[in-house]
Structure formats: structure tokens, C-alpha cells
């Protein structure tokens, strides 16, 4: 399936891109992060990252579907 990814902050810098479309067989959001972490050498373990699907916070165990927008949320630091 095809997924549309957006990256923010430290993940955007480590990926070297703000967004990309990927082809993947990862069944869950967690599997996708693990795959990308390995490919792009992300420094943050999944335990410190959250996932958002189609603009809402979601669970790592959520099954991915073709065409979704997926974003990984590094530890926040507003204020």
C-alpha cells in the first residue's frame, strides 16, 4: 500500500525531508516506524514517539490502510 508521511522537528532533519510517499507492507504503525527508523537511522526509540493518522493521535497497534496520512510525533516541547 501507499502511505503519505510527514516529518517534524528532529525526525524531519534526520529524514532530510518534510514529506514523502512510501510503498510499504508494514501491517501496523509501529511496524512502519521500525522500518523507517532502520532505513533513516532515526535516533528516537518508538517508546518516545507518538503516531498520528489522518491528523489525529492514534495507537501504535493501529492497522494501516492504503492512502492514509501518517505522522510521527517526537517528544513535544511547546511553551
Amino acid at each position: 500500500m501507499k502511505l503519505h508521511l510527514t516529518y517534524f522537528a528532529i525526525l524531519r532533519e534526520q529524514r532530510g525531508a518534510t514529506e514523502e510517499t512510501v510503498e510499504t507492507d508494514a501491517p501496523t504503525a509501529r511496524d512502519l516506524y521500525d522500518e523507517l527508523k532502520l532505513r533513516h537511522r532515526f535516533s528516537l526509540p518508538a517508546e518516545r514517539v507518538r503516531v498520528a493518522i489522518n491528523g489525529d493521535f492514534s495507537d501504535w497497534s493501529t492497522e494501516l490502510e492504503d492512502g492514509q496520512r501518517v505522522s510521527f510525533i517526537p517528544p513535544v516541547a511547546g511553551g
Binding site: I10, D56, S71, A77, G79
Partner: protein, 139 residues
């Protein structure tokens, strides 16, 4: 009730005028300013970045929670993104209520939850030339 991510300097007097309410006896405002020192580092500037779609949803949810929990009359929260210099205001939260207990508690709740939950990130630029994404160092 208003939550906003803005890309320009925050204008408190303009925002506060929207909170005018004859039933309000108390208004508590929190401002987060860019300060020179953090954890012993000399800071030159801060860079904020947000996932705006999600930040707006999560921000509004926090304001609704504050209204429900503390019985406040109104609340506005604005967070600036982009490059900020020393002394500039990064976040502005203002809460009105009939009495000060609710206004203080509501304002404190909103800033605490924004810091903990809203997808906004901060990169510190140090005088030494190095930079760091706050809270993202290796464990």
C-alpha cells in the same frame, strides 16, 4: 474560546480585548518568554515548529477541558512558531472567571497541558553555534 498557532509576534492587548466580559471578576494570564539561559547554556534564539492541524485540535480540546473542570468563563491560548529572539513571547494563555481561584487553576492547567500534549517542538540555538531539539536528546 480560541486556540491559535501564529507565525507573527503575539499582540496581548488585541487578544485580551476579546475576553472582556461583565461577569468576569478575574483574569489570569501566562506568558512564556524566550530566556537567555537554559540548563546552563547561553541561548541566542529559539525555533518553534508545529504540526498545525493536530496542534489546533489538541489545543482546543485542552481549552474545552479547562472550561469544564474549572468553570471558567473564557480562555484564549496562542502559540507562536518560527524563529524567536530573546525576550519574545512564545506562548500566551489568558483565562477569565468570576473569581480568581478558577482563573488561576484554569490558566495553569492550560499551559501545563499545552506543554505536555500539543505537537509543538523547540530547537535551541546556542551562542556557541550548536543547536538542540529540546526533549529529543538520546535517552
Amino acid at each position: 474560546m480560541l486556540f491559535q498557532i501564529v507565525h507573527v509576534p503575539i499582540d496581548p492587548s488585541l487578544l485580551q480585548r476579546q475576553l472582556a466580559n461583565e461577569e468576569a471578576g478575574a483574569c489570569v494570564t501566562f506568558e512564556g518568554w524566550v530566556r537567555r539561559h537554559n540548563d546552563g547554556h547561553a541561548v541566542q534564539a529559539l525555533e518553534y515548529e508545529a504540526y498545525e492541524e493536530l496542534a489546533n485540535k489538541e489545543g482546543l480540546k485542552i481549552l474545552e477541558e479547562a472550561c469544564e473542570k474549572f468553570g471558567i468563563l473564557n480562555v484564549i491560548a496562542v502559540h507562536r512558531v518560527g524563529l524567536l529572539r530573546l525576550g519574545e513571547t512564545a506562548v500566551w494563555v489568558s483565562v477569565t472567571a468570576a473569581h480568581r481561584d478558577a482563573a488561576f487553576a484554569g490558566c495553569r492547567y492550560v499551559i501545563d497541558e499545552i506543554k505536555a500534549r500539543v505537537p509543538i517542538w523547540k530547537k535551541e540555538h546556542y551562542e556557541s553555534g550548536s543547536t538542540e531539539w529540546i526533549n529529543c536528546a538520546k535517552p
